[in-house]
């Protein structure tokens, strides 16, 4: 795919160092990117990938190091400067404004205007073109972004990067919220872009994706470059994992011990419906069982979880825990009955960003840990520290504001919350979103261990192999209906894909 003189890198970052108070995020990182290539950036959670691209985007100022574009040394004191020089970034955490429309979001900061008046019509028209190009003509330019799903928002964020005349587009874990159909779409767009000579810096924890579209790879570990410009086609996966983690990691799902026939039904959902989203959902999860919900983004999977949890008020139907009916639309009742939900969008739905890690871990249990209304912070700290150690939180420090943790580590905190709380039923929405290879298998093991201890687990994931590998039983959801139910071993990825292929992200 490389179209230009390979000897001349388009973008060169050298010796980048970035210190935060109390943390060295980057300690001498090099990256060089050629025009027309897909350059993959790999590394464990907290390795410094997002920090590096924020330096590139002008969102962080490097402590030391140089950036060259076309051989000229350059500084990006502000995100605007980077954009002016053709470096556009899609951040890891969705950065769209919910209250604005799709078109307004895309042209935010570079509004199409004439004499001070925004040109809404041409913005809408161009937005439509961008959406066509991204394979989503059904997303209207006038739709409010807050009403879109996470994947829909990701597409808006991508359209925004495209709307700039970028020469380098940086994508920080764009596929984390996308299902396989969406990922195909993304890759088609990436191919188009590279053919035009645009360089892509691509971050993902899914190695199979890197095999599909990557040209070269840079590997980061603990803020330093440990693998430089590796050729995707000639570097073995084992080698990459070894570089990233410093050890050999088994990349496998835990064994299924099999659920005994006499295991009691923990969670029973009967004819659950939410107006305009899903209807007639019935399912059971037995103690010790992991049930997976497969389906496209927008098929109603997350909404099913949220409705069971009471975060949305069901229009019809019943949710029972150990045979006892739960009050409709009451999260408090669900949590009191020991049902936990790790939501899909951790930043907006899960975290108190300025609070320390331990208070985020105990957000659902501080009242239980407290004695007669008085907080017991010491107990909170030690409970959080225990789970942080078990989940290998990096850095393993529960006093830090959670804002300063990398995305994957924030995800671990969400899981730790329910581990501390203790759950009869655990609802997991994209439990490994943004989690690195090593931690991912730890999370699988952990979920399996919880199930073995008698928890009923219901998992939603966009990665079909994950759903199939982790669950005992799978339900396939399409357009708000359960279209298939059966043991996970008896179905494969293609069959699931065939069943769900009807649907959209909007």
């Amino acid at each position: 795919m490389v179209t230009e003189d390979p000897a001349a890198p388009l973008l060169q970052m050298q010796g980048i160092v970035k210190h935060f108070p109390g943390a060295k995020a980057l300690d001498g990182v090099d990256l060089d990117v050629r025009a027309g290539e897909v350059h993959c950036l790999l590394g464990q959670n907290g390795a410094g990938k997002s920090t590096l691209i924020k330096v590139l985007a002008g969102a962080h100022q490097p402590t030391a190091g140089t950036i060259r574009l076309d051989g000229d040394e350059i500084a990006f004191p502000h995100p605007d400067t980077a954009l002016e020089h053709g470096v556009a970034t899609m951040y890891q955490e969705l950065d769209v404004v919910d209250g604005l429309t799709v078109a307004e979001n895309i042209y935010l900061g570079h509004e199409l205007a004439s004499a001070g008046f925004t040109l809404r019509r041409s913005a809408a028209q161009r937005t439509r073109q961008l959406m066509d190009r991204l394979g989503h003509p059904e997303i209207s330019p006038h739709r409010e972004v807050g009403s879109l799903s996470a994947a829909g928002k990701q597409i808006v964020s991508m359209a925004r990067a495209l709307s700039r005349d970028a020469r380098v587009i940086v994508m920080d874990e764009p596929s984390a919220v996308l299902d396989s159909g969406e990922v195909d779409n993304l890759f088609r767009v990436v191919d188009e872009l590279t053919e035009q000579g645009i360089a892509i810096v691509y971050i993902s924890h899914r190695l199979e994706e890197i095999r599909r579209i990557g040209d070269r790879i840079t590997v980061l570990k603990d803020g330093v470059t440990v693998g430089r410009n590796l050729d995707v086609s000639t570097t073995a996966t084992d080698e990459l994992i070894k570089l990233m983690t410093g050890k050999n990691v088994e990349y496998a799902f835990p064994e299924r011990p099999g659920v005994p026939d006499d295991a009691p039904v923990r969670l029973e959902v009967t004819d659950l419906a939410l107006a305009d989203v899903f209807s007639d959902v019935s399912l059971t999860v037995r103690a010790g069982e992991i049930v997976g919900l497969a389906g496209l983004v927008g098929s109603g999977r997350s909404e099913i979880l949220e409705t069971i949890y009471g975060a949305r008020r069901a229009t019809r139907g019943r949710v029972e825990l150990d045979g006892k009916s739960l009050r409709r639309g009451s999260v408090g009742a669900a949590v009191a009955a020991d049902i936990g939900l790790a939501p899909e969008e951790r930043k907006s739905q899960g975290l108190l960003l300025d609070e320390p890690v331990y208070r985020n871990v105990t957000l659902s249990s501080f009242a239980r840990i407290a004695r007669g209304g008085w907080l017991d912070e010491r107990a909170e700290r030690s409970a959080a520290a225990e789970q942080a150690a078990a989940l290998e939180l990096r850095p393993n420090d529960v006093e830090r504001p959670i804002r300063t943790l990398s995305g994957g580590n924030q995800q671990k905190v969400m899981l730790a919350r329910w581990l501390v709380h203790g759950c009869e039923v655990l609802l997991l929405d994209e439990p490994t979103r943004g989690v690195d290879v090593g931690a991912r298998s730890e999370i699988y093991d952990l979920v399996r261990r919880l199930a073995d201890a008698g928890t009923a687990v219901l998992v939603v994931s966009s990665e079909i192999p994950e759903v199939l590998g982790l669950s005992d039983r799978v339900l396939v959801v399409s357009d708000g209906q359960v279209v298939h139910e059966g043991p996970a071993e008896q179905i494969d990825e293609h069959q699931v894909l065939d069943m769900v292929m009807e649907g959209s992200v909007a």
């Binding site: 949890y309 609070e355 957000l363 407290a370 008085w374 907080l375 006093e399 919350r417």
Partner: protein
């Protein structure tokens, strides 16, 4: 959340101690990791001391006397108590504009002829109970409208501001109601151990507020709701009920303030507390509580209240025109908030 980290040894959990690191303010060894809040409070104390210095230089003994100190504290007490309640409201990301006119209403209601006559029979508790109940009820109404009616706090409490003032005028018939109730006067007027009783009330409320915010589940919920309402809800916190309680608490502190004002001025009037909401909000915000919610500090609020009370006192001692006072106050609010943001940024991003 702030002061709490000051007292609980956060440092024990920070393995990344900066060995031989620079000793900048707020980054003292052993204090690392909590710098933001401490630095802010130190900054406020410095501002207060500076103000005292100015007072001393311009007013001499008229400023630096025990009598004057008590005057300042009495002045600060009513605003202070209400500012404690307001700190909770603002920490949830809300606002309560009704405190000024509610203060008027509570003083009027607790000093009507009927209430005072009853108090003659049953004691001061009638007046106090009346003030507290009126404040609490109005606060809860605010809370219900905001939490369960989904009305923006600004609008809901603005409506209460207008309505409460109207009700106060109606009840008082626009007359000033003199407090002439011996048991109330002996209980709340005068000094205890050389300090006015209403100042003691302020101290008790502030200490209670500190514990409530920093040491109880109520406080944790308050911070959580302000920090990320959706996350709090999904973690099982009953956000609506909690918001109702918080506005109720604000109303309750207004009730307490009403009792103190009756004691201090000896009169209930529908014009009591005019524009007080602005003074209270300014003190809370200057103290370091974030208007967007998620961070509140009682210590900051207390210092904020003291700064404004001292400022007024210095102006009065120097016979400065009240219009000039207003201008200076505006400038101080902006300067304080600007300074704080600088500190906050430095201790956050480095």
């Amino acid at each position: 959340m702030s002061e709490q980290q000051t007292s609980s040894g956060a440092a024990t959990h920070t393995p990344t101690a900066r060995a031989g690191g620079r000793r900048t303010r707020g980054r003292l060894p052993g204090l690392s990791g909590l710098s933001g809040a401490t630095v802010r409070n130190l900054g406020l104390v410095a501002a207060l001391l500076l103000l005292c210095l100015v007072g001393f230089l311009t007013g001499g003994d008229r400023f630096a006397s025990l009598t004057n100190l008590m005057i300042v504290l009495s002045l600060a007490a009513v605003t202070g108590v209400i500012a404690i309640g307001m700190t909770f409201v603002i920490t949830t990301g809300g606002i309560d504009l009704s405190v000024g006119s509610l203060l008027g209403l509570t003083t009027v209601w607790a000093s009507t002829l009927a209430t005072q006559t009853m108090a003659d029979q049953y004691g001061w508790i009638v007046m106090v109970g009346c003030a507290l109940l009126v404040g609490l009820a109005a606060g809860l109404i605010n809370g219900v409208v905001i939490a369960y009616g989904n009305v923006v706090a600004f609008i809901a409490t603005l409506a209460m501001l207008v309505a409460a003032r109207g009700l106060a005028e109606l009840i008082a018939n626009r007359r000033t109601q003199i407090v002439d109730q011996p048991s109330f006067e002996t209980t709340f007027q005068g000094d205890l151990l050389g300090v006015p009783k209403i100042v003691w009330i302020f101290v008790v409320v502030a200490v209670a507020g500190w514990f409530l915010l920093n040491r109880t589940t109520f406080g944790r919920r308050t911070v959580a709701v302000g920090g990320n309402r959706e996350a709090a809800r999904l973690a099982g916190i009953d956000v609506k009920r909690h918001l109702m309680y918080v506005y109720g608490l604000s109303g309750l502190t207004v009730g307490i303030g009403g009792v103190m004002l009756l004691a201090r001025t000896g009169a209930g009037s529908s014009t009591n507390g005019l524009l007080l909401e602005l003074e209270v909000i300014a003190a809370v915000v200057v103290g370091g509580t974030l208007l967007v919610g998620g961070r509140g500090t009682i210590v900051g609020t207390v210092i904020g209240v003291l700064i404004f009370a001292t400022l007024t006192n210095v102006f009065i001692i120097n016979n400065i025109d009240s219009s000039v006072q207003q201008i200076a106050r505006g400038a101080i609010i902006v300067a304080a908030v600007l300074l704080q943001q600088r500190f906050a940024r430095r201790s956050k991003a480095g």
